[in-house]
Amino acid sequence: MRRTVAVVSGIGLVISAYLTWVHYSGDLALCIGVGGCEIVQGSRFAVAGGVPVAVIGLGGYVLIFAIAVLRLRDEAPAWADTAIFALSLAATLYVAYLTYIELFVLGAVCPWCVGVAVCSVTVLAVVSLELLRPWRT
């Protein structure tokens, strides 16, 4: 289970890094008439509190991935479990909000953002199953 979390959070990290690169490369600062990403990443919702949402995602996944790798060690501290649970819950809530904006405000979906959302939900689900299982038995 911990390996699954590490792999999925690694995928999330790679996608967020790509989205951050796209944000700063200016590749989407152009309207060509097609593509949900140009609408989503060019929208006013792509920056929150002066920080690009892509950078927030990258920062979050750097933390989640680092903790997921730490948890692969046999003597991983208990705080790592608590931290990855809290971070993946925060990530899931935030991507839920962003997906709502995509679907119901912008009416456009960026597949890469959906990828990050799927990774967040998966990490939260696997971590929750792992941490909650002892109390079920």
Partner: protein
């Protein structure tokens, strides 16, 4: 006690250590961490201005603005911008780059910016462009331009419906004839003609800028434009 499940648990048991469950966070710890995460995300969304309209571009006082032109006719350098009011990249340019160009160059009479319609992203692009021409009849093209780019929210989803365009005009203090103008469609052909003129100039995407003869596709940053403009000024 349940048998050890994970590698860590088995190794701990073999070493005579405590089972891994003992090192797991308690339900209380997880509940506190989860609650903290929820509060943090909700607070961040609320405080980061999620969903609030973008700030209006501010060009400052003293900048001459006439129909589709910001700056003096005598300015030696012209930036011709081909844009669509629904295009997010045009919004980025209008909100972030253009005010800096105006402050640094247009206000000093070195540059003028000319806006050209390239309304190609759907019916609301066409209606918004027509409405900007109606606003121009009352000398408020640029105010309307700034307001549209600050109001973007998706494409062809009603943000720039004719009713909403009329509301934006009302908010800017335009006269009742503005609404009649929007409904009349009397600027429709002009917008279509200008878009076709853009196609003849090989405009394919927005924003497309022509700094004198140099073509730039996409929302150029201020630094990119500064490099080009400074070189043109130095070459004069």
């Amino acid at each position: 006690m349940s048998p050890p499940r994970t590698r860590a648990e088995r190794q701990r048991v073999r070493r005579g250590g405590a089972p891994a469950d003992a090192a797991r966070p308690s339900g209380r710890q997880l509940a506190i961490a989860g609650l903290t995460a929820v509060v943090a995300v909700v607070a961040f969304i609320a405080l980061s201005g999620g969903g609030s309209p973008s700030p209006l571009a501010s060009v400052g006082p003293g900048v001459r603005q006439s129909s589709h032109v910001r700056g003096l006719d005598t300015a030696p350098i012209t930036i011709e911008e081909w844009a669509d009011f629904q295009c997010p990249a045009c919004g980025m340019f209008a909100r972030a780059t253009e005010p800096q160009v105006v402050t640094t160059y247009v206000s000093r009479g070195q540059v003028r910016i000319v806006y050209r319609h390239f309304a190609f992203l759907g019916p609301e692009s066409q209606w918004a462009a027509e409405a900007s021409e109606c606003a121009d009849e009352e000398g408020k093209f640029w105010e309307f331009h700034d307001r549209l780019f600050a109001s973007q929210a998706g494409e062809n989803r009603g943000t720039f419906s004719k009713d909403n365009l009329k509301r934006i005009g009302d908010a800017l203090g335009l006269s009742p004839s503005f609404a009649a103008c929007v409904d009349s469609g009397r600027h429709a052909q002009r917008v279509r003609d200008e878009t076709q003129a853009g196609q003849r100039k090989d405009v394919r995407a927005t924003p497309t800028l022509f700094v004198q003869e140099q073509k730039l596709e996409g929302a150029a940053t201020f630094d990119q434009l500064k490099t080009i403009i400074d070189a043109l000024i130095a070459a004069r």
